[in-house]
Amino acid sequence: MKILVAVKRVVDYNVKVRPKSDGTDVDIANAKMSINPFCEIAVEEAVRLKEKGVATEIVAVSMGPKQSQEQIRTAMALGADRGILVESDDALEPLAVAKCLKAIIANESPDLVIMGKQSIDGDNNQTGQMLGALTSMPQGTFASEVEIADGKAKVTREIDGGLQTVELTLPAIVTTDLRLNEPRYASLPNIMKAKKKPLDTTTPADLGVDTAPRVQTLKVEPPAERQAGIKVADVAELVDKLKNEAKVIS
């Protein structure tokens, strides 16, 4: 069984991002970049399936600038067998990414696609679903457990108020939630091995994908600063404020 994992290069989760002073975008010019945490979980799940003998090959794909090679290498150091970079310097929106993935799927014919439920930069939570629609593949989103048996994927999903289990016929798409697994870190020997694994590069144009943005960013600004707290004299004043100022009770 072949698994395709999507990995995205994003600003590291430890970095506190700020808007650029002109408000056109988020300022990440100098920030440490890493593999998107949800993508890391996707890679981990694929590697576990391979270790269990369920999967035989893992292909890591990234859509983004040339430096996204680093994140593909990270995925390979974690256990992916080879990588594909769809190189583009454009800001790729979920639809463009989904279209690229669709084209890669057509070439690679994976049995399972695992990807993050969202990336921590755009926070869109769209790509997996769009890919499902574009390819007509069944999807199990927000997965907290994945089981593969008899050509089917049993996916436990985290939904409002509980868990839902769906059964998908392969090939299928799974998007990962936080609790699916705890990703490993790359051991040093595996970091070195990853350097020798094959990494192919293509472009959206080669794949026949139009990446023109559909959304226009008007302005980026920081959220309003939290106001300092105040002391109230008694319960009556507290109730009054909750009612009339905060308007959280009536």
Binding site: A29, N30, Y185, I191, M192
Partner: protein
């Protein structure tokens, strides 16, 4: 936000802007590496540190290992953490691929290991010493010894120790009495007592390989009669399986003010018929072999001291940004909110001092690591020789300056945090206790100062000394063309002048007068030389920062580089001038300590 273990931006500055870690990848030995692999290794190290070491740091400190008369007991989490270090490949980063290593340059390995050291320094002792033990056997042992002992140590199955110190022989190893008797089969039987042996016994590994200094029966007195032996806890059969228990026993554990992750052992060799021992290299060459590895071992001590200072600095900095207390003198309004303590200039003084000490010390250690790399792998014979000369000369300073100023930085971290720094709800008091070992082991501060003044300075027609001055001159010339740092270059020139004249007086006195008197204030000479060297290291950092600022970098980087320039200024205003006091004491051949009588105390 919790304080970071270390400032990664600063590590990158040192590796790639101040020094040229990436340039190492041009050399055949490191050709598989790139900045990307270094970064990945550092990410892994930080992950291991955060996952396995930080969470148990305090628990390890408050639960020291115990001995029930038979076995050592320690927190099981320590084994898990040490195993994670081994499994991730972080325990033998610099070793050859064939021996299970990663063939990383020392400079990159040093910065990678820094996270582990900062998050749980004393647990790293086990793998650190094992690594040092392996390096020694690889350099001076036979192929059969390497196969038998090094291979399982590199795999993490065996651990290694360095067993030198005895109750009657600490600084003065020449007086050690542990003896070795040759046997007909070519092995030896060792008996004697060793103390303070780090990792001397524990249950973390299948076997422990002691490297023991001992005197072969009939060997000459003094340093010329010391040999080096492999003495395993368990003998090892031809097929590599464990054999009989050897005649080496744990006599007891020491209870230390810090470093509680690691056992410190009194070991008794040969309580029965003598511990089976295998000679490394030739008889009577033991100390020479040991000293061959000393430069790197001493860089490791300096590094541990510097890194502990760095992490204490990060911790107290984070605290100072969030602790509201007091108001500025200019504020008379009692209704105003108290300011965060970082707003007080005196707190910034303490933070700046920590920054200047710790970043100065660590950059010095990385310079040492780079020289150790150059000594082995620089392209030409001439460059390798030059690197060896300079490293050999600088080693007492690389070991001692961080060891002395690291604990001072940690003491300031406590002070920044007030009462909260003194209690164990925060780790800074532990950092201080852990760090306090560093001026003691691997040659005490006093012994290092004698090594510098009486040996290293005059050695080889003062070749090392001259090489060091020449390097500093180069930096001064470079700095002189940049208005932002030219003033510091001038001050360093004057400081070097002071160093030169002091050196001249002392060498003259050593030759002509009472040598004991001439050496009486050697520690002040070490401090003088150390401050000049660290002033040089800060000037180097200033040159890089100033150049980078001229390129109008990103706002975050501007702040970073301005911080470097301010720490440079701090060092030149507050620390460097102290050399003038010390120089006077030295040049006067001040006899205050020399003349002090035992009975007057």
């Amino acid at each position: 936000m919790a304080a970071p273990i270390l400032n990664t931006r600063d590590l990158e500055f040192m590796l790639y802007e101040l020094f040229d870690a990436e340039g190492m990848t041009q050399r055949p030995r490191y050709a598989d590496h790139s900045r990307e692999t270094f970064t990945a290794a550092m990410d892994t190290s930080r992950a291991v540190a955060e996952k396995y070491m930080l969470p148990i740091r305090q628990k390890v400190d408050t639960n020291e290992p115990t001995f029930d008369g038979k076995n050592v007991h320690m927190l099981p989490e320590i084994k898990t953490a040490v195993q994670a270090v081994i499994d991730s490949g972080l325990s033998s980063m610099t070793a050859d691929y064939e021996l299970g290593g990663m063939q990383m340059p020392l400079i990159a390995a040093n910065a990678t290991g820094a996270y582990l050291s900062a998050a749980g320094s004393t647990m790293m002792g086990y793998t650190g010493l094992t690594n040092a033990n392996c390096n020694l056997i690889e350099a001076h042992g036979t192929q059969a010894q390497i196969d038998k002992w090094v291979a399982p140590m590199r795999e993490g199955r065996f651990a290694g120790t360095m067993a030198m110190t005895e109750p009657g022989a600490g600084s003065g190893l020449a007086d050690l009495t542990t003896s070795a008797v040759p046997q007909e089969d070519g092995t030896y039987r060792v008996s004697g007592n060793k103390i303070f042996i780090s990792g001397g016994d524990h249950e973390l590994n299948e076997n422990i390989v002691h490297l023991v200094l001992a005197r072969v029966k009939g060997a000459p007195k003094g340093v010329k009669g010391i040999s080096l032996f492999i003495v395993p806890k368990f003998l090892v059969n031809e097929d590599g399986s464990l054999g009989e228990r050897n005649d080496v026993w744990l006599a007891g554990l020491f209870h230390k003010m810090g470093g509680r992750g690691q056992t410190s052992c009194a070991l008794s060799f040969g309580e029965k018929e003598g511990a089976v021992a295998y000679l490394v290299g030739e008889e009577n060459q033991g100390l020479r072999y040991m000293f061959h590895m000393m430069n790197e071992a001493r860089i490791m001590v300096g590094t541990a001291a510097a890194v502990t200072a760095l992490t204490g600095y990060q911790y107290s900095l984070d605290y100072a940004k969030e602790r509201p207390q007091g108001r500025l003198a200019s504020c008379k309004d009692p209704h105003s909110a108290p300011v965060n303590i970082i707003k007080h200039p005196d707190v910034r003084r303490m933070l700046l001092a920590q920054k200047a000490y710790s970043e100065g010390a660590y950059a010095l250690c990385l310079l040492g690591a780079q020289l150790a790399d150059d000594e082995r792998t620089a392209p030409t014979e001439e460059e390798r020789k030059q690197a060896h000369l300079l490293l050999d000369f600088l080693t007492p300073i690389i070991k001692s300056w961080p060891s002395e100023y690291g604990p001072r930085a940690n003491s300031l971290a406590i002070q920044v945090m007030g009462g909260h720094g003194y209690i164990n709800e925060h780790p800074v008091e532990m950092f201080y206790r852990d760090n306090r070992l560093n001026p003691i082991h691997e040659g005490t501060y006093g012994v290092q100062s004698l090594d510098l003044l009486a040996r290293k300075v005059p050695m080889g027609g003062m070749a090392g000394y001259q090489a060091c001055l020449a390097e500093m001159e180069k930096t001064i010339n470079e700095a002189s063309t940049d208005a932002a740092v030219a003033g510091f270059a001038k001050e360093l020139t004057e400081a070097i002048q002071t160093l030169k004249s002091t050196t001249e007086v002392l060498l003259g006195a050593m030759a002509e007068k009472n040598i004991d008197l001439a050496l009486a204030n050697s520690v002040k000479y070490l401090e003088l030389f150390g401050n000049v060297v660290v002033a040089w290291i800060w000037l180097k950092q200033g040159i890089v920062a100033s150049k980078a600022l001229a390129g109008n970098p990103h706002e975050d980087d501007q702040k970073f580089y301005k911080g470097k320039l301010q720490a440079l200024k701090y060092f030149y205003r507050f620390e460097l001038p102290e050399i003038n006091v010390w120089s006077k004491i030295l040049c006067d051949l001040d006899d205050t300590t020399y003349e002090m009588q035992e009975e007057w105390f």
